[in-house]
């Protein structure tokens, strides 16, 4: 029973943290994104790049690995709008507070859109998604990373805590989530 209460508190706390976890404007100078792979196909008519084999994406904010990556490149001056990653997708990133996250799934889809003045920027993980922080592991199907609000959305989630929350009682047993 104590575990259940702690879990509920953890979820509530995590939700509140997530909603207030809006990153500050980044003062860090922009650095390019590097993509490496075994091979690649480029369709210049539709500006689509398909990377195959040991795909690695290294960005100042995100690192990703997968086996198959499709990038629809924007027109000159435009914003990247759609990226599909498949097979053994692994994403690592660190938030502005220094918290590291390790996300794995079979598939990840990055989508960006601008509707009026509203920006939507999400990464949707499907295929046994799992996000690990230093304190917990959460399984969710799907798992949606809302990049605009900088928070995760969980569906049918299962949580596992890496620290012992049953011993000692008190508030020390409540792990900090996202």
């Amino acid at each position: 029973m104590k575990k259940i209460i702690l879990l509920l508190l953890a979820v509530a706390g995590g939700s509140a943290l997530a909603q207030t976890n809006v990153p500050p404007k980044s003062p860090v100078p922009h650095q390019p994104t590097e993509i490496s792979s075994d091979s690649a196909d480029f369709d210049l008519n539709i500006r689509r790049a398909i990377y195959r084999g040991h795909v690695s994406v290294v960005d100042p904010k995100v690192k990703m690995q997968c086996e198959w990556l499709v990038v629809d490149l924007p027109a000159s001056g435009g914003h990247l709008q759609n990226v599909n990653a498949e097979t053994n997708v692994v994403i690592d990133f660190t938030d502005e507070k220094g918290q590291t996250y390790h996300v794995t799934s079979a598939r990840a889809v990055y989508a960006y859109s601008l509707e009026g003045s509203v920006t939507n920027e999400t990464v949707t993980f499907t295929g046994n998604p799992k996000v690990e922080s230093t304190e917990s592991t959460i399984l969710s199907e799907p798992l949606v990373w809302d990049r605009t609000a900088n928070k995760f959305h969980f569906y049918n989630e299962q949580m596992y805590f890496k620290q012992n929350i049953s011993g000692g009682g008190g508030t020390n047993g409540i792990p900090k989530l996202f």
Binding site: S26, P32, S36, A40, D41, F42, L44, N45, R47, S76
Partner: protein, 155 residues
Amino acid sequence: MSRDAVKFSLALGVMVVFLAGAADQPQKLPVGHATDFTSESYFEPPHEQQVKMRLSGAEAVPLPGGLLDVKKLKVETFNVAGKSEVVVSAPQCTYAMLDGVANSAGRLEVLALDGKLHVAGEGFLWRQAEASLTISNHVRTTIDIDIFSEKKTLP
């Protein structure tokens, strides 16, 4: 590609035509050694005056089977406004004139998005009609745009 007008110029005046003008015209094959050549294809009407793609090279040596050994290949694509969109370059490749296909085991570089996208790799296959490029090995792409920015406005 069938309506594309194709121009081919030779600095030394040794070669003739690199690509055919229209599908109903016979392909003219080079008969000798060429240097500093350029081949241009154009958009469909109503932009038929605008260059869609320009293929150039420093040297072309005919090989058996309608092939050309091209040195310093450069392929540049344009939008209908005449702005350069993609530049593909390679130190060497073999170009199949009838098929419009180039390939090489050597290095290839691609520049696009006003230089903000750079792709390099080793070994490639270029299909001109489909504007399709396959890089076989060690592909490395550098994108100098803020992919994961928090908020952006579209142009």
